[in-house]
Structure formats: C-alpha cells, structure tokens
Amino acid sequence: MTPFLKNMLVIARRDFLAIVATPTFLLFLLAPLFMVGMGLAGGMGASQLADSARGAGRIVAVVGAGDVEALRAADARLRASVARRVPVLEVRIASPATADPVAIAREKGSDTYAVLSGPLATPRIVEREADSNAGHYLALLADDVLRSKAAGPLPAVAPKFEALSSGGTSIALQQSLGFGAVFIIFLLTLLLAGQTVSSLAEEKGNKVIEILAAAVPLESVFLGKLLGFLGVAVLFIAFWLVMAIAGGLIAALQIDPAALASVQSASKATAALTAAPATGWPFFLGIGFVYFILSFLLLGAVFLGVGAQAATVREIQMLSLPITIFQVGMFSLSTAAASAPGSTLSTVAQIFPFSSPLAMAARAATDDSKAVHLLALGWQAIWVALVIFLSVRLFRAGVLSGGSSWKFWRRGKRTAALATDATAAIIDRHS
C-alpha cells in the first residue's frame, strides 16, 4: 500500500471511529425514524383534512320525479367508468318549493361543485368553477338519461376482461422509479455529506489541522475524511437496509396470504409490484449505490472546501446554506430530467457534474443502455478529484496561509509595486 493510501486510511479510521463510537451516533442512526414519524403525523393530518373535504363535496341534480331512477342508474353506470373521483350525486325532485340552483350551490355545510336543474334536454348547470369536470359530468348524466329513454331498454353488456400476464413495466412507472432513485440519493447525500464540514471545523477549532498538515499531504486528509464519512454513510444505509429487509420478512410472515392475494389481484398493485427498471433491478440498485457514493464524494468535497475557509461554526452555517440551496437546485433539475427522459434537459442534467449522479441514476430506470454509465462514472470521478484539488488549494491559501493559489497574483502585485517605485525613482533622478 502506498504511503498516500495509508495516510488516507489513518484519517478515515479516526473519523469513522470518532463518529460511530459515540452515543450520539445512535441518535443519528435513528434520525429517519423521527423523519418518518413526523412525515406520518403530517400526512395523517393532511389526509384527514382531504378526506373531510372530499366527504363534504357533492353535485346536485334537480329533476322531475320520473327521471330520478334513470338518473341514479346512469350515475352508477358512468361513475364506474370515470377515472377521476366524482363527488357524491344528490338528487332532488323538482317542485315549486325547490330552492333556486344558485341558492343550492351556496348552501352551507358542504362544497357543491355543480347543480343541474330544468329540463334534461336543456338543463341549467350552475358551476362552482367554470368548465368544471363536475358540470360536464352532470351534462353527461342528462345526456345518458335522455339516450336511454329514447332507445328503450337495452340488453346489459357483458364484457369479458382479460389482463396481460406480463405486460412489462410502463414508462410512467419506470420514471417513478427514476424519481425515487433521485430522491433517495438526494436525501442521503443531504443528510450525510454536510457532516464532513463539521469535522474539519472541529479540527480547526482544536488545532489538530496543523499536525495533520505537517504529517501527511492535505489531499490525503481530505480524501481520508471523505472516506471516513462515506464509511459512516454506508453503515447508515446498511443498517436501514437490514432493518427494511427484516421488517419486510416479519410483515410477510404476519400478513394473511389471502389478503396478499387480493392485493395482488388489483391491477395497479400488480403493476407496482412487478415494476422493473429498464436496466433490471440488480444493475439499477448497484449503479444507484455507486452514484450515491459519487454524489456523496462530490458534495462532501465541496463542503470540505467550503468548511476549510470558515473559522467558526457560524461561518460554516453561513457558507453551507448556498451549497444546500445549490443541491436542492440539482435535485429539481434531476427530477425534471427524470420526468423527461431523452430530452435536452435530461442530457444537460446528466452532463452537469453536480446533477450527473442523480440524473444518471434516473436514466438507469428508463434507459436500458449500460455502457453510458461507465462514461458517467469516469466523468464524475474526474470532478471529485478536481473539487478536492481546488479545495486543498483553497485550504492552503486560506487557512494555513500557504498562498500557493494566489501566489502568481501576489507576485504580480508586488512586481507592479516595485516597478512603480523604480519608475518614480528614475523620474526623481531626472527631474
């Protein structure tokens, strides 16, 4: 093993143990539980709100007594074929005492999306919003009732439904998988890469950095730190992977097989369960993990470079904010790219180094070509090296006042000052 690698491993080992061998690491490990808990609580609240809102919504049809049954039958028939959820239909029999449709639409206690009144051939439809689905649905109901009346009783259609046993995964589902990959990599990177910066701040605070800088190349310090934190990240992922697998197994043992079969019989659920990325699950998961590593290294190197410039925790927070915003920008770019595979936008996202790991992970879900990933990995690795190189130069210039990165500028400035002095002296001599 080369001294450089050996030094890197010494730094990585120290950082890894310094984090893992502390009680606070347990809190960090369990952080997703808090996130999930908070998410569930928020989700339940939102769901309850949505349910209550949906429960109160309605459409109203004010028709003659003779049309009530036909209207209800038409509603039952059409409702099954309409993909969007249609508010509950409330049928009222028209009479002189029936309220005006506008008044009905404004009745309190429920959201009324549309009210139909008048003859079915020329109904008056009062809508909450112009050109609404609810209004069109009421018009469709009226049309259906009139057509049924005109045609007389027809024999019921007895369709025979057949499902494809293996229809492949839809593009939309593959895009969803791509989006999932982008989201997970973004979340993990956001959670873990930012930690590198605090480590460097700690070393600057307790003055260990000068010992490190004197003993080993700064490049190996930076890479060692990234490696140490990557180890923490991998441990974190492995822990939750094991937990997820164990949880899945336990759940599988607990769930009634009949219930599972009924779930699988539902077409949407079946599609979700059989969804596969274009490159296949093993490749997709493997390359996704590698892209996570590169995304982590890229962002971690940026954080280290920035952290190296900061002298206090406050400065670190101030400097970290733009990076986090930048990362959110990369996330947005990558999700946009994931939803438009093959577009110019997705190509840009795949080439731009900081969004490349995310966008390429999404590409692995929708595009079955594999060789392109090798190219992307090489490209991203070059950027990791470049960012570390620049971070080290910045660090030496800013913290240890090495000045190597500004040396030419400084020399230029001094040379200019000397030239000015010399010119002044010559002018003095001649005057």
Partner: protein, 317 residues
C-alpha cells in the same frame, strides 16, 4: 549522511503586504540541538512552518535531509505552537494516531506510547481522555506523539510554554535523550534559559530577519564582560575614576564597567598596583539573555530611526 539536516535558504513570506519573514536562512547541523530565538511576532513560527513545507515560502527554498520536506515527512516529528489533540481520544490512542500519521504501525505506536508515558511518569493517564487532562499534561502527550515514531528531525515550536518547572525539566531531559539517540532537534523559544542550557547553535530572529547565527558562546561574545569592582572604603573617588576605564559608573560602594577580554589582565595589574585596595571584584560574562536583549534592542532602534527618517521624508514631500 548529510552534514546538515535542515538547509533553508532565503525564506521570505508575505501575509498580504506584511513581510512576515524576510530572507531567513537556517542551516541545522545533523545531530545538533538548534534554537530559533526571537521576540513574539518575530517570524519564528512562520519560518519553521516554511522549513517543514507546511506553508510555501514566497521566496527561498527549504531542504530537509537534502530533499523537499514533503518527501521526508515520515522522518520528521513536529510539535506546533498551537497545541492540538482530539479531546475525545485517549492518551495512548492519540499518541498511536500521531505515530500512524508518520507511518508507524498502530500496535507499535500504542506500545511505545505506554513506554514513553511510563518513563515520563504519566502512566496513570494512559487510558484517560485528553479532555480530562490538564493543559500541561496534554502538551506532554502531544510531545510524545511527535517523537513516538523515532524521527530523525524533531521540530518543536515553543515547546516549553505552558509547562510547569517539573515538566520543563522532563522536556529538557527528553530533548537531550533524543539528541543522544542521533536525532536533530530544532526548536523555537523566547525563554533564554532553555536555549542557553540546550542549544549547540542558535539563530536569533527579530523584525522578520535573522540577526544572529552561531553558538551560545558566540552570542554571549557579542557583549563585553561586566566588571564589578569594590575598592577599599577609604579610597579616593577621583583616583578610582582615573584608574578605571571611561564610562565606569559608581553605584553604592562599587563601580561597574564593561571590559574586553584583552583588557582584563592589564586592569588587574593596575588595580593591584594602585593601592586603592580590593574589597570585592567580579568579572562576569554576559548571559544569552543579555545578548538577545542587546540584539533585539539594536534592531528596534534601527527600525525606530528608519521610521523617523520616513516620517521626515513624508513631511518633506
């Protein structure tokens, strides 16, 4: 083997427009103890950092064992001025970690850490976390960490500051022992007593430049010896003044004046032949402290004079 472990030539460093180090050269003979002396802010630490390649000089070069300092890091032990250890680490681990940074095996580092700590009477804190230690104790741990890999060159930046007299004594012992082992020691200090006792050679840096280089005796030789002569109580003051060199000052019942080596014997002959008697006589060589203060004051005076000239020139223009 190189005659000189360190050959730093013409080191210059700017921080912004401030010239922190100006053309400083340090050549440290192999196997010697070499002191870099200077007042606070003179440029000692920056010089040492450039010598070790921790920061790049704007001008000049540094060679350690004939190579770039970065190429021989594993042969160097360094104790920076600003002490730094991981507070959560145990003493033994901290020392082993510092050894591992220089290529020493972890287990060997732990073993040597225990040996060093036992020798220095620190065995009771071997498995103590750094954060629980006193500043002086942590400093000793860091010192051990900087020599645990048996380096050929040991660079100590202000190693005695913050240590109590007992630990200062231990540190001096350790420095001598490392020199006897064959290591070259380069250390900075502004405490003259340590330098006087330890250094084979020394450099004095003041106002960013090296102002002196040589042995301790060379430094002391910069000033004449000091004579304190006490004549018989009834001796005539006019006769005494005529006997002694110009500039002799009476203080109490004694007279004080400087004297060159060559003038000592003629003076003794004059005194004994004068009949003024000798109630007391001492001739002392100036200490390193005196030489240091003399050099630094001379530099300060020349700077003040330059500043005055600049002010006059500025006023005239």
């Amino acid at each position: 083997m190189n005659d000189f472990s360190v050959e730093a030539i013409g080191l210059t460093k700017y921080f912004g427009d401030f010239k922190a180090v100006d053309n400083v050269s340090l050549t440290v003979p192999t196997g010697s103890i070499y002191g870099v002396l200077g007042p606070n802010g003179a440029g000692k630490t920056t010089s040492l950092r450039m010598t070790l390649g921790i920061i790049d000089p704007d001008e000049g070069t540094s060679r350690v064992f004939g190579e770039r300092p970065q190429a021989v890091r594993h042969r160097i032990g360094y104790l920076p001025e600003e002490r730094g250890l991981y507070p959560g680490m145990k003493a033994r681990e901290a020392i082993a970690f510092m050894g591992a940074l220089r290529g020493l095996d972890w287990s060997e580092g732990r073993r040597r850490a225990a040996t060093f700590m036992t020798e220095l009477g620190l065995e009771r804190v071997i498995d103590e976390k750094i954060r629980k230690m006193s500043k002086g104790m942590a400093q000793m741990i860091q010192l051990i960490g900087s020599i645990v890999h048996a380096p050929d060159l040991i660079v100590l930046d202000e190693p005695f500051s913050g240590l109590d007299p007992v630990n200062q004594e231990r540190l001096e012992m350790l420095v001598r022992r490392e020199r006897d082992r064959g290591a070259t020691i380069l250390f900075s200090t502004h405490v003259m007593a340590h330098a006087e006792r330890l250094c084979d050679r020394l450099a004095i840096i003041a106002r960013s430049q090296r102002r002196f280089e040589g042995t301790v005796d060379d430094a002391r030789g910069l000033l004449p010896m000091q004579v304190r002569y006490t004549p018989r109580a009834d001796a005539d003051a006019t006769a005494i003044a005529a006997l002694l060199p110009a500039g002799a000052e009476p203080r109490g019942d004694s007279w004080f004046f400087p004297i060159e080596d060559a003038d000592v014997e003629p003076l003794l002959a004059r005194i004994t032949g004068s009949g003024l008697g000798v109630a007391g006589l001492s001739i002392t060589r100036p200490a390193l402290h005196d030489a240091f203060v003399h050099i630094v004051r001379q530099v300060d005076a020349s700077f003040d004079a330059d500043a005055g000239t600049d002010a006059v020139e500025e006023a005239l223009t």
